[in-house]
Symmetry: C2
Subunit: 331 residues, 2 copies
């Protein structure tokens, strides 16, 4: 096997986040479930947007955030995702490339669909509730993959969110074949408890057949395995034979390698401003460590460090070079 050109290649939705502060009443009034992601159509997105307060726009997308994090740590990431032929598409492409991610926008077929946006409401506790309009992301399909890039990545990282789009699911399955055929690794993020619930059977099959590293928070992993507690979840993860990272917000993270459970504390944060991207950046730190031969405990600590940076400000991309924090913290 040749040396990997990329540490991690992410496949996911290319989204520009539109982020506004709000209160819990707004979340309730609009029938949102706090802390989760809901897909919206254009009309529903407009209704929410019209009611939202002043916002800022920052590129997002779960796997894209993870790749931005890996670049910020000094790693070599690649991202495959579809943007529309519009200004937000330009902005997305600019921002991911500006931090050093090799961005592959899929085959250059013209799309009439707009770049995806996610209306993110941040409540005073820092929790984020997301409403995604997928737009051009719904066109991601097998033809958008680049086989050579996939073969050249140490790990290919997939969003569970992709299961909401039939063509993307086909793309992921094709990607897994290529990646496993090349002797490389597949990582999966469960993305959201409802995603885990909606696509349980298919995700369990994917995990059994192809996934080497699984990321999820407690809600997501409990939802996937219909587990009632940590022990129940661990016993199902043992059967699944994956390296699993379960993030537990302020309680830190539990890493399970099939035999041993490693618990790592959350890194200290002065004030939780916006939790958007916490899981994405944990995955970035963990995968950076993993692809650089670090011990699992250190991988998890780097993940916790990256997550702590991103929840200390608005937006799901690092505001400071994580490489500096890595050095400062002696990792």
């Amino acid at each position: 096997m040749t040396e990997a050109r990329y540490d991690v290649l992410g496949i996911g939705s290319a989204i520009v986040d539109i982020i506004a502060r709000t209160d819990d009443d707004f979340i309730r009034t609009h029938g949102m479930i706090k802390g989760t992601m809901a897909l919206t159509d254009a009309a529903q997105a407009k209704r929410i947007y019209d009611a939202m307060g002043q916002a800022v726009e920052i590129s997002g997308g779960s796997a894209a955030n993870t790749m931005a994090g890996i670049a910020s740590l000094g790693g070599a990431p690649c991202f495959i995702g579809k943007v529309g032929n519009d200004k937000l598409g330009e902005i997305f492409a600019h921002e991911i490339q500006a931090v050093g991610v090799d961005f592959h926008p899929g085959e250059s077929r013209p799309t009439k669909l707009p770049t995806a946006t996610c209306l993110i409401l941040v409540t005073p506790d820092g929790q984020r509730t997301m409403n995604t309009f997928l737009g051009a992301c719904t066109e991601l399909g097998p033809n958008d993959l680049d086989t050579e890039r996939l073969k050249a990545a140490h790990v290919t990282y997939i969003e569970g969110y992709q299961w909401d789009t039939p063509a993307a699911k086909d793309a992921i399955r094709k990607a897994c074949q290529t990646v496993k055929g090349a002797g490389r690794k597949v990582a999966l993020s469960l993305s959201d408890p409802f995603v885990a619930d909606r696509h349980r059977t298919e995700l369990l099959t994917l995990i059994r057949d192809d996934v080497d590293i699984l990321f999820g928070n407690e809600d997501e992993i409990f939802s996937l395995y219909q587990a009632a507690d940590l022990e129940g979840a661990i016993s199902r993860l043992r059967e699944a034979k994956v390296l699993a990272c379960m993030t537990r917000s302020a309680k830190g993270v539990v890493v399970f390698d099939g035999q041993t459970t490693i618990a790592v504390e959350a890194a200290p944060v002065t004030k939780v401003v916006d939790t958007t991207g916490a899981g994405d950046l944990f995955a970035a730190g963990f995968l950076y460590g993993f692809t650089h031969g670090r011990e699992l405990t250190n991988c998890a600590k780097i993940g916790a460090m990256a997550a702590a940076e991103v929840i200390s400000h608005m937006g799901a991309r690092p505001e400071v070079p994580l490489r500096d924090l890595l050095v400062k913290n002696g990792f």
Copy 2:
């Protein structure tokens, strides 16, 4: 004269800011003059954008920021400006309306030009250097004004920047006629030292004939009057018979009412993150006080308070309700 429906009506460029941190080398390498605004064409904007790092997008525009500030203080502002028929236009319109500004996008003639963007580079000292692509803003003309709205505003606030666009200049002249005819007041912001220099004769004529309140920083006022020092500038302002506010960054502000000079200190700031909008928000605070019958010293203090909030974070719009700060500071 009937009671004013608006405290202040702003006429200016409707711009979405694209803000990135950079270093002084970048400013030098790209031939920019630190702390100023340069107009760019599409090709030049693309060159700068391609070279810029990760950015965030936040609505801006000088007079628009001022109107957002007045709304945040609890005042009643209106803004007239042109956006493109595109996503950034939607974003601009959403963000200004979400904070409570009555947004009048001019006559609803379809434009093919994109919404204006401003590439803002913020150096480690917090100073901002701006590169504006005016796009749809170049179409602002006399027909975009709404006479009834102009007559209904206590003060009409104009950006010096508008002098760079011939049709906008005609619009401003028409607006001044309407405003003065209705017995209302005109305020002018000089915007930029190069703007003051490029359009000196015309701006001096406007100030003599129509302007009641003049805003500018030291560089801008010195540039306009070709003054070498504060005394020289004050003597020219005395001749001009305007109420003048000269902002002096960390040195605070000097207000000159034709006879008396009032000096007000800058409000304390823990860390200057991004000076974008400092002048705009000073004007917001001053005009809020002025249109609510406050003494000039208090007007300047409210301005200093609003400016201090906006330079403590990225972006030129207040992040917290300025009304709360007003109450907290006992104004």
